[in-house]
């Protein structure tokens, strides 16, 4: 028995397959317990996603959207180039072949447009490192993750100073010790 691949099962769990692929997959699942378990696992994972989206430090929603878009693009591109795997009636006429080739060409064109229109470089830029002030301190950040942050321990009156070499300082009176403290973070030196 030939099983659908993991991507197909994952997309099926999320209701993201087209009508024909969905029908084919459901037909397979009706007599394959192994793949049903896989789909159940993917469904369970999807139910956890809302909880993961609550995390403050990681943009799971953006990550999930990007992964989903990439999977979709990959599948569509694969569909476009795997013309030999499309099951066609044996008696297809030459006119039918021409229609299939024309359809595949349109799909490649659409896929290319999506890739060109999508601001991939900007996404890469988001993940770059920056040094910044926040409401409670100073931190070195990579993408959405804090590499190192020094917080002001509840101090209210905080002054921030930027060093053009890539450092950020916060000066405040420590509410616990009563002493002036200057916290600084920077790229590694």
């Amino acid at each position: 028995m030939r099983h659908p691949n993991q991507a197909t099962l994952a997309l099926h769990a999320g209701g993201d397959l087209g009508p024909f692929r969905r029908w084919m997959t459901e037909r397979h699942l009706s007599h394959c317990g192994l793949c049903r378990d896989e789909v159940a696992g993917f469904t369970e994972m999807r139910e956890m996603l809302p909880d993961l989206a609550e995390l403050p430090e990681i943009s799971w929603n953006r990550l999930a959207a990007e992964i989903k878009a990439n999977v979709r693009l990959g599948l569509e591109a694969g569909e476009c180039v795997r013309t030999r795997e499309i099951s066609l009636p044996r008696a297809a006429s030459p006119a039918g072949w021409r229609a299939v080739v024309a359809f595949a060409s349109v799909m490649v064109l659409v896929g290319s447009c999506m890739v060109l229109e999508r601001p991939w470089p900007a996404t890469v830029h988001v993940a770059s490192t920056s040094v910044q002030s926040t409401k409670d301190g100073v931190q070195v950040q990579a993408g959405d993750g804090v590499m190192l942050g020094l917080t002001n321990g509840g101090a209210r009156d905080v002054r921030y100073t930027m060093g053009a070499q890539g450092s950020m300082a916060a000066q405040y009176t420590d509410p616990e010790t009563g002493l002036v403290t200057i916290n600084t973070v920077s790229y590694a030196q």
């Binding site: 696992g41 369970e44 994972m45 956890m48 996603l49 909880d51 993961l52 995390l55 430090e57 990681i58 900007a122 830029h125 988001v126 770059s128 490192t129 920056s130 040094v131 910044q132 002030s133 301190g137 931190q139 070195v140 990579a142 993750g145 804090v146 590499m147 190192l148 942050g149 020094l150 917080t151 002001n152 321990g153 009156d157 002054r159 921030y160 100073t161 930027m162 060093g163 053009a164 070499q165 890539g166 450092s167 950020m168 000066q171 009176t173 420590d174 616990e176 010790t177 009563g178 002493l179 002036v180 403290t181 200057i182 916290n183 600084t184 973070v185 920077s186 790229y187 590694a188 030196q189």
Partner: protein
């Protein structure tokens, strides 16, 4: 399946053991660790990473023979792996031999959860500055220069306040404290972000509609400064300034190894803001006696105020710190800073002024007078 694992890890939230933090004091250190408390510190698994919220209270003791005026600690997580370093500087100390003092460090960071072994955070002693300006420590973060400059500012400001006390009595001192507190309240503050190299991502769109322009620096020159600012410019686009560069000239015969410039931004309404510092951290920087050199940085600085991007109109520079090759440090005189109208608008009180004003507010004029007598 990876997400399933991440979700399982999500449930893990645990207090931090004291052994998770390594306080690294050399054997010949003039300070010793008396006590460490991790208080409400916690680690939380977040997906494949671990978030650490550290709340450290250290009690250190001066075990040397000299009075300590400053301590500089280096805070490191996964050195060399993530490329970030932090420091905690306690200026304004006056700790005698045998006396103890507290240092409080609150930090947050992420690290991969699969990293095995070793402390989660390391706190190293980077430097100790003594009353007589002698120094101890590895000085990896240039803590000697930073503490020297801070101590010179402290001495400068204490001398001004002592002068006021001598001439005008407690009333003059009270008025000075009230002015410091008023300055703390009135100085407009900036927040911001520094991105290495070119445009920051959020400002790419703004840069597209606000063409980048080269803005020349205006200068505030101090008559007693060993450095003269000749000319300079930075690239401005909206709330973003990048690649500032200033030509500096050494007015003295003494070689200079470090220059730090302050820079002030003005918005279209004429409101001025202290933007930060422009240090000569380039290892190739050298300024011989009577020589000329460039102070420049390649990073992009993005400014905001009250959560809104700051529209930058003009930039002004001034010399805020000079270190000579012999290790001596120069800072501007208080009269120079106070006599310039622009700097009066933007300069915050020094760390020592802030400390003394807080002492006045919390303990009264008597405690302040006693404090000044200690120096």
């Amino acid at each position: 399946m990876g997400l399933l694992g991440a979700a399982t890890l999500l449930a893990q939230d645990a207090p931090l053991a004291t052994s998770s933090v390594n306080i690294n004091l050399p054997a010949d250190s003039p300070i010793a660790l008396l006590n460490i408390s991790t208080g409400s510190s916690r680690t939380t698994a977040v997906g494949a990473a671990m978030r650490l919220d550290l709340n450290l209270s250290l009690t250190l003791r001066n075990i040397g023979n000299n009075r300590i005026h400053g301590v500089f600690l280096r805070v490191v997580s996964q050195e060399g792996a993530l490329g970030s370093v932090g420091s905690v500087f306690q200026p304004g100390l006056n700790v005698g031999p045998g006396e103890a003092f507290p240092v409080h460090i609150t930090t947050k960071l992420m690290r991969p959860s699969q990293m095995a072994g070793g402390p989660l955070l390391r706190v190293d002693l980077d430097g100790v500055l003594f009353q007589d300006f002698s120094f101890y420590g590895p000085d990896k973060l240039h803590s000697r220069r930073i503490m020297m400059a801070s101590e010179m500012e402290s001495q400068r400001d204490r001398a001004v306040l002592k002068g006021l006390l001598a001439q005008g009595g407690e009333t003059a001192l009270k008025n000075a404290m009230l002015k410091i507190k008023a300055r703390e309240e009135s100085v407009p503050r900036l927040q911001g972000r520094i991105v290495p190299g070119g445009h920051s991502m959020t400002n790419q769109a703004m840069a597209a509609v606000t063409p980048e322009r080269q803005e020349k620096f205006a200068f505030v020159q101090f008559p007693d400064s060993p450095i003269e600012l000749k000319q300079g410019s930075t690239l401005i686009a909206g709330s973003e300034a990048r690649a500032p560069s200033i030509e500096v000239h050494n007015r003295t015969d003494r070689p200079v190894k470090y220059v730090e410039l302050g820079w002030v931004l003005t918005d279209p309404s004429g409101r001025a803001y202290m933007a930060g510092s422009l240090p000569s951290t380039d290892p190739a920087f050298s300024l011989p006696g009577r020589g000329t050199s460039q102070v420049r940085q390649e990073n992009t600085l993005e400014f905001s105020t009250n959560g809104k991007p700051l529209s930058i109109r003009n930039v002004t520079g001034f010399v805020s710190q000079v270190e000579f090759a012999d290790g001596k440090v120069w800072v501007p005189a208080r009269q120079s800073l106070d006599s310039d109208a622009l700097l009066q608008q933007v300069l915050e009180p020094s760390a020592e002024e802030e400390r003394l004003a807080n002492l006045y507010v919390t303990k009264g004029i008597g405690a302040l007078v006693e404090e000044l007598k200690k120096y």
